[in-house]
């Protein structure tokens, strides 16, 4: 158990700056702290460091998403028509009934959800810029070039994932899921599924970036 905790302390301490990591691990060794307490102390330090670092990042990211969502809400009818078209075409082809809503506030809630989702996609370049700035602060010109490349790559993958789900998964889903029997699908149920599919596939498309990050971390 102690060996696992020591390993955890060593692994988690890599989140700190090299100098600080050395000082902290040296303090633990000198004080003869038990690994459980050392791990708790270390996590406390990392949380404080990250909170100071991520406070502004989180605020800017949320603000960007909210602005994106605001713009999307203004164009909600156009966005709805655009996003619904592949699915309505499929419903018409299969001679299935149109989607219904069971509650008068459902359409409004749906517009809010769609606006938030579109806001996330619109803000994705800015969000990835913020993320990469956090991971690799641009102190030098060559780092700036790397960050530009990664921002473009990350955003392109995210948007490509969303687009693929919209173009392939959403028209195919009713054909596959509603092909037998009679159905009455509500608007909100369908769109919950559609939003999950689009955002989910977009997030899965970010996996190469995650692998790349892990590779870079291990190469350090």
């Amino acid at each position: 158990m102690n060996r696992i905790l020591f390993w955890l302390v060593d692994s988690v301490s890599r989140c700190l700056e090299p100098n600080e990591r050395d000082a902290v691990l040296g303090d633990f060794a000198e004080s003869g702290n038990r690994p459980g307490r050392a791990l708790r102390d270390l996590l406390g330090l990392i949380v404080r460091r990250r909170a100071a670092l991520w406070g502004g990042w989180l605020l800017r990211t949320l603000l960007a998403i909210m602005i994106g969502a605001g713009v999307s809400f203004y164009f909600r009818n156009t966005i709805y028509a655009l996003l619904a078209s592949p699915m309505t075409r499929t419903l018409r082809t299969l001679r299935l009934p149109r989607l219904v809503y069971a509650n008068p506030v459902d359409p409004f809630i749906l517009y809010l959800k769609l606006s938030m989702m579109t806001g996330v996609f619109l803000a994705s370049p800015f969000v990835s810029w913020q993320f990469w700035s956090l991971v690799s602060p641009c102190r030098y010109r060559h780092q700036f070039r790397h960050v530009c490349f990664f921002v473009t790559f990350t955003s392109a993958l995210f948007l490509a994932g969303g687009f693929l789900a919209y173009k392939l998964a959403l028209p195919a889903a009713p054909r596959f899921l509603l092909s037998s029997g009679s159905h009455m699908v509500t608007l909100n149920e369908w769109w919950d599924f559609a939003i999950l599919a689009m955002v989910g596939v977009a997030v899965i498309f970010e996996l190469p970036v995650l692998f790349w990050l892990v590779y870079l971390k291990r190469a350090e």
Binding site: N19, V24, G26, A29, R49
Partner: protein, 109 residues
């Protein structure tokens, strides 16, 4: 004005003098307060005090009992001493005539 923990840290560092570094300061604070001192609070407060110009820190030499890892050494600056003195004077002035000051009431923690 200093915070309570900042004052404790300055006192510990001033008392330790040339031997003031992370683990020693932490031990000194734990002895004087009879409470656990969180490492996160210690290191973030060191950064804050350094940013305010009240202490100076640098990486010291490595020792075998630290597993060959260096210490983060700390020195209280002149401004740090002035700030600690001002804090102490304020607390002493604010406490004048109060029950816990006149009867030397000891609060056990």
């Amino acid at each position: 004005m200093l915070g309570e923990f900042e004052y404790l840290l300055l006192c510990a560092a001033a008392r330790l003098g040339e031997d003031a570094y992370g683990a020693a300061i932490r031990q000194e604070i734990e002895i004087s307060t009879r409470q656990r001192c969180s490492l996160g609070a210690l290191y973030t407060t060191l950064d804050r005090l350094e940013a305010k110009g009240l202490i100076e820190t640098w990486m010291g030499g490595a020792t075998p009992q630290r597993g060959g890892r260096p210490k983060r050494m700390v020195r209280v600056t002149v401004n740090g001493r002035k700030a600690a003195a001002a804090f102490y004077t304020t607390v002493a002035r604010a406490s004048r005539g109060l029950a816990w000051q006149t009867s030397r009431l000891e609060v056990r923690s």
